[in-house]
Symmetry: C2
Subunit: 666 residues, 2 copies
Amino acid sequence: MNTIDTLFVNAIVLTMDAKFHIYEPGAVAVGGSKIIAVGDDHKMREKYAESAGTVFDCQGKVLMPGLVNVHTHVPMTLLRGLADDLRLDVWLMGYMMPVEREFVSPEFVKLGTQLACAEMIRSGVTSFADMYYFESDIAEATAAAGMRAVLGESVLKFPSPDARSYEEGLANAEAMIRQWKGHELIVPAVAPHAPYTCTDEILNECAQLAAKYDVPLHTHLSETAQEVENMRKDKGMPVIPYVKKQDLFMAKVIAAHCVHIDDGEIHTLKHHKAGVAHNPSSNMKLSSGAAPVHRMLEIGVDVGIGTDGTGSNNDLDMFDEIRLASFLSKLTTMDPTSLPARTALLMGTRMGAKVIGLDKITGSIETGKAADMILVELDTLHNMPRFAHNQDNIYAQLIYAAKSSDVTDVMINGAFVMRDHQLLTLDETRIKAEAQQVARQIDDFLQKRENSVLSKLIAVGGAMEEESFEVQAKVAISDPTPVLEALEKPAVEIVYKRHYHEYDTYFAFEDRTQGYLRYREDHFIDDDGQVSQVRSRLTLIGPEGEEELPEKVLLSRSRFLAPATQSFRFYREYFKPAFETEVEKDRRRFLIRYHGTEFYVNIDQLIVPALGYFLEVKSRTWSRRDAEAKSMMIAELLSYLNTIPEEASKGEYVKMAVDHHDRQKK
Amino acid sequence: MNTIDTLFVNAIVLTMDAKFHIYEPGAVAVGGSKIIAVGDDHKMREKYAESAGTVFDCQGKVLMPGLVNVHTHVPMTLLRGLADDLRLDVWLMGYMMPVEREFVSPEFVKLGTQLACAEMIRSGVTSFADMYYFESDIAEATAAAGMRAVLGESVLKFPSPDARSYEEGLANAEAMIRQWKGHELIVPAVAPHAPYTCTDEILNECAQLAAKYDVPLHTHLSETAQEVENMRKDKGMPVIPYVKKQDLFMAKVIAAHCVHIDDGEIHTLKHHKAGVAHNPSSNMKLSSGAAPVHRMLEIGVDVGIGTDGTGSNNDLDMFDEIRLASFLSKLTTMDPTSLPARTALLMGTRMGAKVIGLDKITGSIETGKAADMILVELDTLHNMPRFAHNQDNIYAQLIYAAKSSDVTDVMINGAFVMRDHQLLTLDETRIKAEAQQVARQIDDFLQKRENSVLSKLIAVGGAMEEESFEVQAKVAISDPTPVLEALEKPAVEIVYKRHYHEYDTYFAFEDRTQGYLRYREDHFIDDDGQVSQVRSRLTLIGPEGEEELPEKVLLSRSRFLAPATQSFRFYREYFKPAFETEVEKDRRRFLIRYHGTEFYVNIDQLIVPALGYFLEVKSRTWSRRDAEAKSMMIAELLSYLNTIPEEASKGEYVKMAVDHHDRQKK
């Protein structure tokens, strides 16, 4: 017989097992990290009280499985309340991304994880699934806090705080998986951020990695209607079929959000045993919508409940979250019997554990499972009175009336991490003080940035394109004819060609690190030489391309793009530039395919200032390896187009115009 | 200069005044029940510290106006968690109404009020607007707890726990208004429950009463889509125009819910300066829908936030409620900037005070207003860190992260009711113990009722009609011809006539107090004598008509009606009757108007058992006075229809059939 370390007695034991057994009064015997037995108080005492190391009197409280938070970003707890009530683009690109770029480091994520673990333990969470950067550091802090977690290292096509390219991200994920695989509390995972921030290749490689090591794959799917619309436009199908096509489901998928999916997609998720992480607060606060949870449950998909990060919540309170899941389902189905308390709590415990692949280990109080349990006090004022004419009363009490502050004790894997509201593994005072220090630094950073052109652009700019990388090369040419002739040759396939007349005004500022803000009017010229359409756009161009690739090809970043919906005069007044520079040019633009790769070729005639003809070759890129390969191809292409690659320069037109102007003044 | 009793210093003072002044650090001077001054900490100390009775160090907490809960039913706090996740009809008629009928008394409402006040004070509420029964007892308990409230005595067309008729309810309301008008903390009000539970007359008389005493009128309007649909069907217009037609807006109206109203109705509310009580938790949990709050605010209607009763919430936590109001608006508008934190908090404070007519007194920290203030601690773990780069950060922190448990101190009307989480005016231990006793009694009552036919009917019955009162008289006649002839005479106007063949089966039970459950098939007979339609219904008939009115007219109640959507065999198995009785009859049914009043006249030929012809005269009634008047008219009508009123009997057909059967057996 197993040794009993602790015998919990005098509790209302909610097992959340398959038959929803309740023992009132009940008892639970724990030995080492495991639950040894569960049953009636009287019988359990008879059998175990004498040999138990400790007999723990639960004083009539509810003893239940710890809650499972199936989707969050724990380090972002340090960004709680950073910016709220904003449009998604303004929030993301104006606040979250710049602050993350500046501040996220191993120390940052450790502190954020500690803050989050403290808050989650306080509110009865014993397991969570995370997705962020420096996930190995997160794992260290989580294990030290004594919490159980599935931790996914993020991979995405943009540079991130811990990876300059997706290959680096993928390598980080693999290293993290190797390091943590087999840990008693931590399950490592890979987390391709979302289809719209990944490529076909990234999704597929992440799935292969997850399958290779048999770890979960955690990702965001179908969070917004916009995402689905873009996917339909770009790929001709909604999100779930698209990721299926990339073989994502060769992995065990934790699909966060799934707000905008239809019955067919739900069946696909079921078929592939994917679990869904439902985040009601986040979906409401960010206006994403309401996930069809009732249909998922009807069709048989496992759905857990997540808080998402505090950026969009703003807390990690699973009591709030479970309740809101029930309320939201009742609202959207217009059926008050929808998602009743017991089902909601099941999603917050055993079903949640299944969603993140921990159902063999946690999520219910059953013999053989880990002792992940919490005590909840139900005689606090806001819980009074308690009815008992019906077995479901206790679930309703927990879901609709109880608060996270009613959690008094938390045990994870057989070890107490909170006793009588006191945290045992985390130093709350230190964590709070350090968190405040970080917030002060971020406040300073944001206040200084108040004069930033980028933040002003974002504040006014409408839907923004994300930042991107481009490889590009430019060569002065005396005559465009040889280039045009080369383009007609068979090695080049012309996908399309356009003719524009472009009027650009570049704003520059006293602070040169702000870069240039370009206001451009594109006049489309049709085959008859007539202007058929005019489009105005704003582009913020970073101060300098950061590095030169081989063959004088430039790798540039930090371009932000916005439709210019206001007048030129408005922008001049709004941005108050210190300098203005005009550039006017005629542009023949070709999208070509060369050895299977797409490039933009611009044949430009500069009119203001009158600097003659230039050939530009550009291509978007998402990885360093790809950038290097493309820079080699660009050099080759320049030769092919009858120019001399060695003459390529990295100058932007605005600089040429400024230099020209300076020369004239002298 | 005023005497300063308490000078609050070292606080973040959120005034919530018209300019949203924040003093950080700030101070507030209180003298007697009033705020004497508000301002910068330093200047206020210089001016008042020396002369102040007490200098209260707020330790950097937020000092803000107390929250205003604009719609609740405080005594129902004793019914928290009584029954959840049920269809509205099952919840209301299966649980709430029977329990209220059995348990609600002056003692019940006082205890419930104490429990609610304790919970509200703990969560930072200083004022609320209530609607229930025995409101004068509620006022007593509220004043003793030191809370501010607008308390509306309910008036409705059904008998209620404190009024057998609407006239009694109205008289109670007037008495309550006279008793409490002018009290420092209590504003009395009248509360016609809702259009669908009132009559034209009740609404109008309530409005007159409110206008006469210049007190608010608190009512439920347009809570569900069904309500609006029924109103359109019955009155040819939606709810707001209907109540306008009854001159409801001659009073200052507090309109709870307003979930299903259009722009035109919103303009009507604005024009009449009605305030709206928005109850997001209740509207979600009961699947009522989402009120168009953003439109109300755009058009300029004042909207406050309410918890509703704990039956549909299940708490009185305004922190939860304000946050949910913001989330819900962001979801329904699909705009994350909708209902930002500051606006949400405004609705929970100053604007809420305006909705319930207390804006001159409370809702903001301004010189001259009552000292209704709370202290909120923002350095709790779940509030960490706190950003300060933007003035709106503090509102976001309070709305999206802070919890009711962060409220440490509460002052109402210059008097502390909570200090450092300790209630000063209420004995929490006693209240909790007594509340548990009441819950045990209700548990017992409900467990006993498990065998009740009514509850079983409700559980299975689909949409139910509410209970009703009827006055009725029945006379045996030898020949229907004289009655039919009298119906042709000019004093009677026939609104319509119908011809049925009715097959009834009455179920009776060992427990005779259960009454009879009738399963009826109505065969409609058309002019050619053919059956044109068949309808099946279940009716539960109370055990006995409770009292006889003058002229042998019976006042009966407790009839519950449900469409019989299942087979007869199902009902027989489901209800397991001890006895069955068959009645078959031919019925000619007339709706007539006699001296301006509508009556139903049935000329029945009993076929099984073959007992001959009967004349029945019936009318619905909503008040005792009306019932008495109608019973006189029925006697007159019986004479007019050539029968002898003195021969009228109160026997139901089922009893005649049973008697007949018994006689045959002998």
